[in-house]
């Protein structure tokens, strides 16, 4: 049977990777992408923890929470990208003004 | 008997996938890579599905496997065409 521990640790690594991207990038598309990566890592940890233990079936409550979380993350991404496109059209840059010196 | 067919077919399928991967890594330009891909992965998936179908426990499962293959074939055809056109437009504007 699957050992969920691998996936839990993988989730921790993915969260770390996403945080790296979110801190490092100034391009807002990349930051939203990093946000999604962090989110999926968190869900992976929750899902892995939910299928630990003697019961072989994955915890349905954890599954429901994760599905809700995925939908919420998608909604946030959709709004963020729409704002970004509108902002880039108005300002000509995909970066916030304070990060603009990174704009080549 | 069914198991032997499964072993053979799935192994063959995997072979085509591996060939496709090698092509995507090694072939020198976009077109030859695309050409290799469309051949390799569809045939690969086809053999895989045929092999797996011999393990199916009901006709419903076989039908759904067939649907997956049909969808994948259709998608691959469209994908290849669109990607080729896109690459063409990009390289000779």
């Amino acid at each position: 049977m699957t050992d969920p521990t691998f996936y839990g640790l993988c989730g921790a690594v993915v969260v770390g990777t996403g945080i790296y991207g979110f801190v490092l990038h100034t391009h807002i598309l990349r930051r939203l992408l990093s946000f999604n990566v962090i989110g999926s890592g968190i869900f992976l940890m929750l899902g892995a923890a939910g299928s630990l233990g003697p019961d072989t079936a994955a915890d349905p409550v954890a599954q429901a929470l994760i599905i809700t979380g995925i939908v919420v993350a998608l909604s946030a991404t959709a709004l963020g990208l729409a704002l970004l496109v509108a902002y880039a059209r108005a300002s000509g840059s995909p970066r916030l003004p304070e990060d603009a010196n990174d704009d080549p | 008997m069914a198991d032997v067919v499964t072993y053979f077919m799935t192994a063959l399928g995997l072979g085509f996938y591996l060939a496709g991967t090698v092509a995507v890594i090694r072939f020198p330009d976009t077109y030859s890579r695309l050409h290799a891909l469309t051949k390799a992965d569809n045939v690969g998936l086809g053999f895989l599905i045929v092999g797996i179908a011999f393990q199916a426990d009901s006709w419903m499962v076989v039908a759904r496997l067939a649907l997956v293959w049909g969808l994948a074939l259709m998608a691959a055809g469209i994908t290849a065409q669109l990607i080729a056109r896109t690459a063409l437009q990009r390289q000779s504007p």
Partner: protein, 91 residues
């Protein structure tokens, strides 16, 4: 049989690592997309292998994956066209 199917899935997954390299390397957008499509079809294959090995209802995931791989290709073609809403087949 189960261990054979899972072993095949491992090999298939490893081969997708090669395609992953091409997605990362590019150089053209089309190259990335070709390799991504290979990963999509490979993913369908892996799902089917897992389905045969463990639980047949996983086929539904393969179905959705195959469907959305095609949709992604359409979106790619659109996004790469001149005005981002066109068709690469238009002159």
């Amino acid at each position: 049989m189960t261990s054979w199917l899972i072993s095949l899935a491992v090999l298939l997954l490893l081969s997708l690592g090669g395609a992953l390299w091409r997605v990362w390397r590019g150089p053209e957008p089309a190259d990335r997309m070709i390799a991504a499509q290979l990963i999509g079809t490979g993913g369908v294959g892996i799902v089917l292998l897992l389905a045969a090995a463990t639980d047949w209802s996983m086929i539904d995931v393969a179905l959705v994956l195959a469907l959305l791989a095609a949709v992604a290709a359409v979106a790619f073609a659109k996004a790469q066209s001149a005005d981002s809403v066109g068709d690469p087949e238009e002159e």
